[in-house]
Amino acid sequence: MVNGISVVAKREGRMLLTEKTLFIAILVQLFVASFSAFLSLGFAVMFSPSAIGPELAEELKIGVVGDVEGISGSLIALMSDHIGVIRFATLQDAQAALRTSEVDGVMNIKKRQDESLEPIQLELFLPKNNFKSSLVTVQIKRALEQFQDKLRMEKGIEVMKLNSPVDVEDVSKFFEFKYAVLVPMLILLPAFLSSGMIIDMITEEYELGTLELLRVSPLKFSEVIYGKMLVMVLIAPIQATLWILLMKLNHIAIYNQLEILLFLTLVTLILVQAGAILSIYFKQRSSVHLVFSAAFALLVLLSGLLPVPPMNIVALQAAGSGVGAGNYIWYIVAAFILHLTIKILPEMSE
């Protein structure tokens, strides 16, 4: 049995290398990485424009119009710590500057009848669907919050605050994005690709009719299936190792690497077995892919019932926060149940 499996595994492994499928797979992952990094950068920016680079935040300019006397004067001073401020006499002038991209937004400070009674009211005008508009909003929000704190202090309003020894504003908010979004996605991507590949490998044998040839070969059907699965499960941690190296080059330290690789292998084992079961049952490639996509969505949904879902496990391990060993039991049980399911398939006992 073991001998047969290793023969098939070696053959499949060689095929992967000669057909450059693995090479394309890695290329695909690089694309996914750059694309997801780009998209998620958008999310990161919403928390802190410095995620892109401090020089970008410095380039931002806002045109200010309206009542700049008295207390609003100190608002403008505060704002210029966060964003370039250009004053305009009228909204028309500011609008003209906006059209020529001299400023990225316009702020109008409304006139107040009675300074002691009315709150300060502002109007902010930003171009729609503009990346810079999000950045401007973030910077203005910061300035206004500081300004609000100042006013509250003057009026003696108590606000709970953290007496931080470091200036929190300067702290990059990239940490959470890096470990809680980017790393788990990249680490688990090979598991998903492997499950797609096992489906192709098995259904192809059915559609080519090559499984019939097994009857005259010393190999058993089960050995062929296990051999293919072995290769697909093993290549996932190899790819993830490359990811970890790549992230290291980009100064993203990954903690608990061994645990992460073992966990990835476990997840791959679950997905590859699920793919294999569906392939043996349905045999036709399009049908298997259809059912597998739905089943995959279901698995993702059900993983939400676990105390620590898969992506969360990778995030916590990678960031060095640690995960209790008990959390792995669920995954081991799932992999084992699928293993038993494969065994009772009538085809496998032939």
Binding site: A94, L122, E123, M160, M201, E204, L305
Partner: protein, 560 residues
């Protein structure tokens, strides 16, 4: 025509077998389990940052506040990222620790904002002492017409005030002490997700990913089950077979596009803009399924093309209203159209022409492979390309004309590659300009030299031995194609920065680019004649081409 329709009809019958009864039972079962499980699963369970920060708190009110935020794992003893006690905060200067501090700060700010809101009665004077600043954010459409509530500027009465798209901003109109206070308090400002246009375009493109997957599956099936051969033996011709098989999928995608357009409230023009996008998805799927040697390779090809096309379509849309570069993608035009902007003919041609050309060419080359050998023989991709080139030359008649014509025809492929490089590198240009320029120029030169070498390789293999003439013809053909494309009003992209590097020589005297193109092709042809492998010969031509480009850029003063 009748034959095309009957192939299309067959295709539709066949697709029914994919969704048989067992599949439906499985899908229903999965749906039932999902519905049962759904109530037990909250959205928050999917947040990947649960328990990310380990915090030790010996300060009772803070304890409860932090416990309400899932990101914090509160411990009593052991090592932590952060220790908060009545005597102060203890932290290390690690990234983790600082991030934890920042997260704690954020949570406290949210909490105290919430507390203050409940502490005072809304609209009372005290309320406005606690919340002394209010802001109204308005997002302007492309006319950038500012209309203030104070009505300082109201030259045009049609207000754009209702364009406020951010639904997170809940205007709180308050009577107050005789004043209307509108807008939000600074803490509640939610910066808009910057890539809203990407979200909109997803609606168009997601069906294309799936349908093209089904389409390629069907063609691959034909090859594997060898039914395609029987069809070829019938009086149906290759192109009729291709059109017939493609037609159902094309119509389905067209219907999806029309639906998406109606949902978004777009006009007929949107459908027209999306037409080349449908074609490019189908044509890449077609070529993938004709060239792939097995299903695994097909899956990989498809994923590869989905990602390439995805980034080509999506990334430029992030720069709508910011940079001219965004018009590379037709989706930018869709976004503009939905915003009620006027679309110029130039913009329309620029966004559609490359995609249209490439998809039609891809269909053409794929169709040329729709023959017994092409369908069955599992040869390398390069051999398949050469095979289709050879067949095309056969149709073109005279070989001299063939070489020139193929040189010209392939230009759009090179052009698309260059546009794609522009898309990929545009936003990281600032990080390492030299590296980006180097890589993109190298890739585009290699692709250029390959396209020029293809027709000569075919003919050299057939025994033509006037290599210099082959190189000259191919180089000239390529030159003609390039100039033709440039006439299609590319000026806005070609000028400036990275564009100038990719389309090097575009703005120079005509003699220089012609010379370079001919030289590259001649080197490749001579190299192969000398006994080099095509790869080696093309590499040699590319290296030389690369350095000449470098000199031109240098003298052009790009680095200066």
């Amino acid at each position: 025509m009748r034959k095309i329709l009957s192939v299309a009809h067959l295709e539709m019958i066949k697709s029914r077998s994919v969704i048989d009864r067992r599949v439906i039972i499985f899908l229903v079962l999965i749906a039932i389990i999902s519905v049962i499980a759904l109530p037990y699963i909250g959205i928050s369970t999917f947040s990947m940052n649960r328990g990310l920060y380990i915090v030790k708190v010996t300060n009772s009110p803070l304890d409860a506040i932090l416990a309400s935020d899932g990101r914090f794992k509160l411990i009593d003893n052991g090592t932590s990222d952060l220790q908060i006690s009545s005597s102060g905060i203890q932290l290390s200067r690690t990234e983790r620790s600082l991030a934890a501090l920042s997260a704690v700060d954020e949570t406290i700010k949210e909490y105290s904002n919430y507390q203050l809101k409940n502490q005072y009665q809304k609209d009372s004077p005290e309320y406005y002492t606690a919340f002394p600043v209010w802001i109204d954010v308005t997002y302007l459409d492309s006319s950038l017409q500012i209309v203030s509530e104070e009505t300082i500027v109201t030259s045009i009465p049609t207000a754009t005030q209702e364009q406020n798209i951010s639904s997170n901003l809940t205007p709180e109109i308050a009577p107050g002490p005789g004043v209307n206070v509108s807008g939000t308090s600074p803490r509640d400002i939610r910066p808009p997700f910057p890539f809203m246009s990407i979200m909109v375009s997803f609606l168009f493109v997601v069906p294309m990913f799936f349908i093209s997957q089904l389409y390629s599956s069907s063609i691959m099936d034909e090859r594997i089950s060898r039914k395609g051969i029987m069809l070829l033996a019938s009086p149906i011709r290759g192109y009729e077979l291709v059109i017939g098989k493609t037609l159902p999928y094309f119509i389905i995608l067209l219907v999806f596009t029309v639906i998406a357009t109606l949902v978004l409230g777009g006009g007929f023009l949107v459908v027209l803009i999306m037409l080349p996008v449908i074609l490019i998805f189908l044509s890449t799927a077609f070529v993938s399924s004709i060239t792939a040697r097995n299903f695994r390779e097909l899956t990989m090809f498809l994923v590869f093309f989905s990602i390439v096309l995805g980034s080509y379509l999506f990334i430029p849309t992030a720069f709508v209203n910011i940079h001219e570069y965004s018009i590379i993608s037709p989706l930018t035009l869709v976004v503009n159209q939905l915003e009620g902007e006027v679309i110029t003919n130039k913009g329309m041609i620029f966004a559609s022409a490359p995609l249209l050309f490439v998809s039609l060419l891809a269909f053409l080359f794929g169709t040329l492979l729709m023959n017994e050998e092409g369908l069955l023989v599992k040869v390398e991709v390069l051999e398949k390309i050469l095979d289709s080139i050879e067949r095309l030359m056969h149709y073109l008649g005279d070989w001299r004309f063939g070489v020139i014509a193929i040189g010209t025809l392939l230009v759009p492929f090179v052009f698309m590659t260059q546009l794609f490089l522009l898309v990929i590198f545009f936003n990281i240009m600032n990080i390492s300009p030299i590296l980006v320029i180097g890589i993109s120029m190298a890739v585009s030169v290699v692709v250029e030299e390959w396209t020029k070498a293809l027709a000569p390789i075919v003919l050299i293999r057939k025994g033509y031995n006037n290599h210099t003439l082959l190189g000259i013809l191919s180089g000239t053909g390529y030159f003609l194609g390039e100039k033709g494309l440039l006439l299609l009003a590319l000026a806005s992209i070609v000028q400036g920065g990275l564009g100038q590097v990719l389309f090097v020589g575009a703005g120079y005297l005509l003699v220089i680019p012609l010379g370079i193109h001919v030289m590259g092709a001649v080197i490749s042809a001579k190299g192969i004649a000398y006994g080099w492998s095509p790869k080696r010969a093309v590499l040699a031509a590319s290296v030389l081409h690369f350095f000449i480009n470098l000199v031109i850029i240098w003298r052009g003063g790009i680095f200066g």
